[in-house]
């Protein structure tokens, strides 16, 4: 876990519904409360979806406190601009935000997304044999690769999130020093602020979910005219749907560009497995998004992902930047502002033991424990599966009687023994002899 997910303990009933939804088996219920194994959590938000008590949420900052600040500056994710029909152009949203004394950085975002697509196209073009590259945009996918596919970290495109780059460009260009709040569609992007990968420190200070800001805007129902603000390009909004990033990159290719775009964790895991087995030759770029349909399916969004998709489908994006825009893209490209400053490293889970002989012994022990368990993966022990319980036991983080069936077995054995023992009498009380 990189801090994208928050558990509200007062709401958790310890029902164990969430633990089975987790794609990396990172959840446990201990003493009636759900807990996250930080080494395994990828901040994808599947547990948020599965919790009926809303006990798991995006770990964002207190919006009610943040919004009271003077001249608040928002760096909003592209999904933010397709949540409400009336504000589904960046210029209209800008006007609506201004009514609330809020400012967004959409003109800088537009440039940063163009820049990211341009830089990605350059890297892919010059990659030689090291293809396909993998998109860096979804932080949950990056975490999944770090933990489960260490062999693939070298394929991650060293281009930072344009949400970061936009703020860096804005600061450099204007000298602004105000803090910036990220408006995030999901727990994974909240980690950009909480625990950035590939850079020392985030350019963003706070994070709030898309849903909270949209709710406030809708509550006031501001009418916008669209005449007060300058037009802003819309091609970058398509990054919020699966395939949009690849489409943007391909616009900077004059010859063939082959990409595969998938969304949803199951598709992502399958595709990464195929890549690791060397099945994807001839592919230049892989775009994976943890959420169904892409970022519009994030757990921190407001609008139905289907309606967001409809709005995005209706955007007739002008893919070619204007001459003036192109000049800006090139000049920022030369400044390398878009590049990840630190390498993305593997974060594999610890083996059962550092010594292979000992690890083999523990693995055999684990198999023996597992063989005795009921294999129905009921979840009552607080683990997602019988195998996970067996692993926790050999790692010293649980005991066999955590399993209700094993506990019942022990009690049955014990009661049998009690019955057996109670029928035994001391020699001095032998029933065959009459006591005088």
């Amino acid at each position: 876990m990189s801090g994208g997910i928050k558990i509200r303990e007062s709401r958790c009933r310890g029902c164990a519904n969430c633990i089975k939804s987790c794609p990396t088996e990172a959840l446990r219920v201990i003493d009636g409360l759900v807990r996250i194994l930080p080494d395994l959590c990828i901040d994808c938000g599947e547990c948020i979806r599965s919790c009926k008590d809303k006990a798991i949420t995006v770990n964002d900052d207190e919006w009610d406190l943040i919004k009271t600040r003077e001249g608040l500056i928002l760096m909003a994710d592209p999904t933010f601009y397709v949540q409400v029909g009336a504000y589904s152009r960046p210029r209209l949203m800008k006007e609506a935000l201004e009514h609330h004394g809020l400012r967004d950085l959409s003109e800088w975002a537009s440039l940063a997304f163009d820049l990211a697509a341009f830089a990605s196209a350059r890297l892919i073009r010059d990659a030689g044999d090291n293809l396909p590259y993998i998109s860096t945009y979804c932080p949950a996918v990056i975490r999944l690769i770090q933990i489960n596919h260490p062999e693939l970290v070298g394929r991650i495109l060293p281009v930072e999130s344009p949400l970061e780059t936009a703020v860096s460009i804005w600061r450099e260009e204007t000298g602004a020093e105000e803090s910036v709040t990220l408006v995030s569609p999901c727990p994974a992007k909240a980690t950009l602020v909480r625990n950035p990968v590939g850079r020392e420190q985030s350019s963003l200070e706070y994070v709030v979910s898309v849903r909270k800001v949209i709710r406030d805007l809708l509550a006031c129902n501001v009418k916008v005219t669209g005449t007060k603000t300058k037009a802003i390009s819309r091609r970058w909004l398509l990054w919020s749907i699966s395939g949009g990033e690849s489409r943007h990159i391909s616009s900077f290719f004059d010859k063939g560009f082959t990409s595969i775009s998938v969304s949803g964790l199951r598709n992502t895991q399958d595709l990464l497995n195929e890549l690791e087995l060397g099945r994807l030759s001839g592919v230049d770029f892989i775009e994976c998004r943890a959420c169904d349909l892409g970022c519009i399916g994030g757990t921190g969004t407001y609008e139905s992902r289907f309606l967001s998709q409809l709005r995005l489908d209706n955007i007739e994006a002008e893919w070619m930047p204007s001459g003036e825009e192109m000049e800006q893209i090139r000049s920022w490209y030369d400044k390398d502002i878009w590049r990840l400053t630190a390498p993305v490293t593997a974060k594999e889970r610890l083996p059962l033991s550092k010594d292979i002989k000992e690890a083999m012994a523990k693995l055999r022990e684990m198999d023996a424990i597992y063989a005795e368990l009921p294999h129905i993966d009921c979840g009552a022990c607080g683990r997602p599966s019988c195998r996970a319980l067996a692993e926790d036991i050999v790692r010293g983080q649980g005991e066999v009687t955590d399993c209700v069936f094993k506990l019942r077995e022990r009690i049955t054995n014990l009661s049998g023994e009690i019955k057996n023992l109670s029928s035994k009498l001391p020699h001095t009380l032998h029933p065959g002899r009459k006591r005088r």
Binding site: N273, E276, R349, L352, I356, L363
Partner: protein, 138 residues
């Protein structure tokens, strides 16, 4: 010598055995590049056994200095092993090629990823393949 064996009998889903092996090797703390090589070997062996051998049995044994993958099928056997080891040579049917398999890369790919490879084959009886990956000494 310590050993740990894992059996992937009667596999039906593509990649099933290699996924199972991979999880095991990770828990044993085998370096990730060796895990990848073992996965590729298991995967290609699995595909070969499915395509040509009509299914089979795959077994991986881990020792403290190496791992061995044995794939056994009761298929038609390989008439000319040295030909089968050539890149691009395949006897796969057109139907299988249409599925994107049978490119004649299976055995060469196993050979590339294994430190040693032994193939025993008998016509109409079946094929047994033994691939070894040696762990670098610590």
């Amino acid at each position: 010598m310590e050993e740990y064996a894992i059996l992937a009998g009667d596999f039906s889903a593509i990649g099933e055995a290699s996924t199972k092996f991979k999880a095991t090797l990770k828990m044993l703390g085998i370096p990730s590049d060796l895990v990848r090589r073992a996965s590729v070997i298991a995967y290609e062996a699995e595909m070969n056994a499915l395509i040509h051998g009509g299914g089979g049995v795959l077994r991986m044994t881990v020792y403290d200095d190496r791992l061995e993958i044995v794939a056994r099928d009761e298929g038609p056997g390989i008439p000319d092993v040295s030909l089968a080891m050539q890149e691009g040579y395949s006897t796969a049917t057109d139907e299988i090629r249409e599925l994107g398999f049978g490119a004649g890369m299976g055995l060469p790919n196993i050979d590339r990823n294994a430190d040693s490879l032994l193939i025993e084959t008998e016509i109409d009886k079946g094929t047994t393949l033994l691939a070894t990956v040696i762990f670098p000494s610590p």
